[in-house]
Amino acid sequence: MWGVIKSVLAAFFGVQKERQRRHDFEHGKPGAFILVGLLMAVVFVVVIAALAIYVAG
């Protein structure tokens, strides 16, 4: 699970180690990456919105 989150974070940032990428494609399930990706996108939007609301006072 932690491995999937790390891979999704790497995808958000846009940089991934070649070794990890191979590992994910050979052993990972696509559904897990899609689900975690969607959830973390929602978390990202909520964090940005909360930050903007906090800064704007």
């Binding site: 940089v15 070649e18 704007a56």
Partner: protein
């Protein structure tokens, strides 16, 4: 860091020195409001950041091309990835972008904060003039370009403020927060005065907000910045910024003049008076399409001189001026001109250029039709 920033913006002032507070240089003007100066500083800061990035990137590239050229025996390296380098070249631009976004957002917030204004001015874009209304003060007028046709057609020398001069400028006080409410009657226009760093679209059916607090008295010029038809280039903006007491006096005078004109609605007007006032109104409102000599530009803008339909039917003539003609470029003037102006301009076009109908349309008749 602070020293570096000061150096960069200082360099910016030097770079744009020739254009200080003027729109005719290479750079954007510093302008005459705190906000326009802030926008200028922001612009120059980002400009110098881009210059530094450009020098570093192209410097490294050209140095590498020269230093490691094949004729000196350089061999290309073959490797597939380097995660550390990739992380650095992703993170550095991210930090630079965030670093620029923080001050830019702070400035944007100030630009959008039109609260606590001391004066509200409604600005309406029309084909092809601006209308200014001092809300709550009963003062409103149209502002038309005053550059003579002969200068445009090349029959006369161009004046100093060619295409940037109007019959009645927008008058504003300095040191007061003025809120603009911007809209349009027909198509999208855009009210743009570089010295205020204000460029705001005016859209039919919408009201946009903007604001300005001018620091220095003076004449500031701008133009319509959204292509709006044939005379898009002929609807300039001129703002006359005055000292506060001078402005208050001007406003009182305008209010009194407006009241005097409103009183004039009830009395009988002489033909000469109507013709004189009518010529003035015709020149500023009608002549841009129907031409000063009443000849028009057929087929889009029919001639009025010797127009039989107009000569025969005064009621039809008044109706056209009041309500416009749908499907043509003729707008309704019932709410843009007051009854005296409407009566005068109809009288003028019924009697000028050999139309000689002898009809004197009274303001009181117009008032009845407007109700």
């Amino acid at each position: 860091m602070r020293k570096m920033l000061a150096l960069m913006t200082g360099g910016g002032t030097l770079f744009g020195g020739a254009s200080l507070a003027h729109a005719n240089g290479w750079n954007m003007p510093v302008g005459v409001t705190d906000l326009s100066a802030e926008i200028y500083t922001l612009h120059m800061t980002i400009f110098w950041i881009c210059v530094v990035i450009g020098i570093v990137v192209f410097g490294v590239m050209f140095y590498s091309l020269f230093k490691f050229r094949r004729s000196k025996g350089a061999k290309s390296a073959h490797f597939h990835e380097n995660t550390t380098v990739e992380v650095i070249w992703t993170a550095v631009p991210l930090l630079i972008l965030v670093g620029m976004a923080v001050p830019a957002t702070a400035t944007l917030q100030k630009m959008y904060d039109a609260s606590d204004a001391e004066l509200d001015v409604m600005i309406t874009g029309q084909q092809w003039r601006w209308r200014y209304e001092y809300l709550g003060e009963d003062v409103a007028f149209n502002s038309n370009m005053s550059t003579p046709r002969a200068q445009i057609t090349g029959e006369e020398e161009r004046g100093e403020h060619y295409l940037l001069e109007v019959d009645e400028p927008l008058v504003l006080p300095i040191n007061r927060k003025v809120r603009f409410l911007l809209t349009a009657d027909d198509v999208i226009h855009s009210w743009w005065v570089p010295d205020f760093a204000v460029k705001q679209d005016t859209i039919p059916g919408f009201i946009n907000e903007n604001w300005v607090r001018i620091n220095e008295p003076g004449i500031y010029r701008g133009q319509c910045a959204e292509l709006c038809g044939m005379d898009h280039g002929f609807m300039p903006i001129v703002v006359h910024a005055m000292e506060e007491d001078e402005f208050d006096q001007w406003l009182v005078e305008r209010k009194e003049a407006a009241e005097a004109e409103a009183m004039g609605v009830d009395r009988e007007w002489e033909m000469d008076e109507l013709m004189e006032r009518g010529e003035q109104v015709y020149g500023s409102i009608c002549a841009s399409c129907h031409q000063a000599d009443g000849g028009g530009s057929p087929p889009a803008f029919p001639g009025l001189a010797g127009n039989q339909e107009l000569i025969d039917d005064v009621d039809w003539h008044i109706d056209v001026v009041l309500n416009g003609v749908s499907g043509t470029a003729m707008p309704a003037f019932r709410s843009n001109l007051n009854p005296v102006e409407l009566a005068a301009v109809v009288t003028y076009s019924r009697n000028a250029w050999g139309n000689d109908t002898g009809d004197a349309v009274q303001p009181a008749e117009i008032v009845e039709l407007l109700e």
